[in-house]
């Protein structure tokens, strides 16, 4: 097993475990509470509207917005870490078919691993800060994933041509 394959396969399994453990923790301690909160804010908002209390309705909808924003991102972090982990493992297994030099292949593997770790991490950071920093981390992570994957696709295609 080459260094790049090792990075992709072990990194992928580690990332899958991270994603699953995060999902398990979230499901046990947070998910139901957050879903309850989302439902209650919506119901309270419309109840306030029924009582013709527009300021109270606006306040509860703001709460709904925050809770929904957090919930969507927590679920995204869980699914993206695991999804990217699976991609890393499969590409790791097939990596000897990428027709580039070992150095270039290692760069692609490193880029994909870093991107796969950083992209959902940026999404997770967005639950703590709505500023541009976490978004920049997310964009950088996804750009790394896309660029590395495009390079690998080219490598697979080159193998096909050469054979």
């Amino acid at each position: 097993m080459s260094g790049a394959q090792r990075l992709l396969i072990l990194g992928g399994i580690g990332l899958a475990l991270l994603g699953m453990s995060y999902g398990l923790w979230y499901a046990v301690f947070n998910e139901h509470q957050e879903l309850d909160g989302i439902g209650k804010s919506l119901a309270s908002g419309f109840s306030a509207a029924a009582e013709r209390n527009a300021p109270a309705a606006a306040a509860t909808f703001k709460q709904y917005k925050e809770e929904k924003y957090g919930y969507d991102r927590h679920v995204d972090v869980h699914s993206h870490w695991i999804g990217l982990a699976m991609l890393l493992i499969v590409l790791g297994i097939a990596f000897d078919r990428v027709a580039f030099s070992d150095g270039v292949k290692y760069l692609f593997a490193l880029g994909l691993f870093l991107g796969a770790f950083v992209f959902p991490l940026g999404v997770l950071m967005q639950t703590y800060s709505h500023g541009p920093g976490p978004r920049a981390v997310t964009i950088a992570g996804s750009a790394l994933v896309i660029a590395s994957l495009a390079g690998m696709a080219l490598g697979f295609a080159r193998e096909r041509v050469s054979s």
């Binding site: 475990l17 908002g45 419309f46 709904y64 929904k68 996804s142 896309i146 696709a153």
Partner: protein, 374 residues
């Protein structure tokens, strides 16, 4: 002719016996993994055709009733309708989770099957771990499916019912099994028990294997590009619209503006549809790409004629492309695109089923050849 085919089978059997023996960990994970994916996909198709749209209509109807309750100043009607919306959404959410987790655990099982030669554990340990993995992979989705029906009945906890507890236990078993395989992999690559894995499965360079591999990578790339475009162009706008439409709806109710409420309800339905199709297209393109890549490795185990192996590979890729593209077009072309998307899903299921049958045939031949050895 028969003699030569039998002797070639014995050769195949000799090569594969170590990694694909009867009830070996690899065989369990491969069969169980494809089985999980097939059941998850069939469940998803049944859910999409018979439950999803009806459920969405009920959610919409209750949301409309809640908004009109607010318009009439009837707080009790608002709460009752939102309780219904919550129940319908939970019902929908648990069905989607059942579908997604079953398929994802299937993918993980296929990957672990591929990695078996690198796992430095005894075959009996690997087999036990495979059983634990498959048990957890079945338990979690089945219990998630039951959450809506079991609820909090006789639960010792305030917000978690028994079905949720068992679902979490299933997830824990999957995590532990994966962790155990990881330990075996680490032992293999760190040199304590180095393994030089010579796996004929990974050396295969058949045309259908290559087609599935390259097609799979391209599907994943397309899925990522679409996801990135959606995140950059629509995600934050959709989130802002979600909040503003609901606020306008409530403001319309508070201000007795029936026409405003109707407009907001319409806009909210369109927004939810737009979000759903974009996310579904993104997720399905990537998942089918992964499936195609994994099935590329297992082509040597598909005991069908070469032409048929290639045909099923093409069918799998065609369905994998058709489904996400048509899902995206659903908002514009409605039921026609929806029907074509379902057809795409069906093509994937049929192709996967054909490959599964091919693998079962291979196993039968392998076992028979091994049984003939002196």
């Amino acid at each position: 002719m028969k003699q030569s085919s039998t002797s070639s089978l014995v050769e195949v059997a000799d090569g594969a016996a170590s990694s694909f023996a009867t009830l070996s960990a690899r065989r369990l994970l491969l069969l169980g993994g494809i089985g999980l994916i097939l059941v998850g996909m069939i469940f998803g198709d049944i859910f999409a055709v018979f439950v999803l749209h009806q459920n969405a209509a009920r959610v919409g109807a209750n949301l409309t009733a809640a908004a009109h309750g607010a318009l009439a100043g009837d707080r009790a009607a608002v709460l009752a309708n939102f309780q219904n919306v919550g129940a319908f959404l939970e019902n929908r959410g648990t069905k989607v989770d059942t579908h997604v987790h079953m398929i994802d655990f299937g993918y993980l099982a296929l990957m672990l099957a591929l990695l078996q030669p690198w796992v430095a554990l005894s075959e009996s340990t690997k087999k036990r771990i495979a059983w634990v993995f498959l048990f957890g992979s079945g338990l979690l989705p089945v219990c998630v499916f039951l959450i809506h029906y079991v609820g909090l009945a006789r639960s010792p906890l305030q917000s978690l019912g028994w079905a949720s507890i068992f679902a979490d236990f299933g997830g824990l078993l999957v995590v532990l099994a994966t962790l155990a395989y990881l330990q075996g992999l680490v032992r293999s690559v760190t040199g304590k028990e180095p393994i030089v894995a010579r796996d004929s499965l990974l050396a295969d360079r058949s045309a259908e294997g290559r087609l599935l591999l390259v097609g799979g990578v391209l599907l994943i790339l397309v899925g990522f590009l679409h996801g990135a475009y959606y995140a950059a162009a629509d995600l934050y706008r959709h989130e802002a619209m979600d909040f503003s439409i609901l606020s306008e709806m409530a403001a319309g109710a508070a201000g007795s503006n029936a026409a405003g409420i109707a407009r907001s309800l319409n806009a909210y339905g369109t927004l939810q549809g737009d979000k759903a199709v974009n996310i579904a297209a993104h997720a399905h393109a990537i998942e089918f790409g992964l499936l195609a890549m994994m099935m590329a490795f297992f082509q040597p185990y598909v005991a069908l004629r070469e032409a048929w192996r290639r045909r099923w590979a093409v069918v799998l890729l065609l369905g994998s492309l058709l489904l996400p593209v048509c899902v995206l077009l659903e908002l514009r072309y409605g039921l026609v695109a929806g029907g074509l998307a379902d057809l795409g899903g069906l093509l994937v299921i049929v192709a996967l089923m054909a490959m599964w049958i091919g693998i079962l045939r291979y196993m039968g031949q392998l076992d028979a050849a091994l049984g003939e050895e002196p």
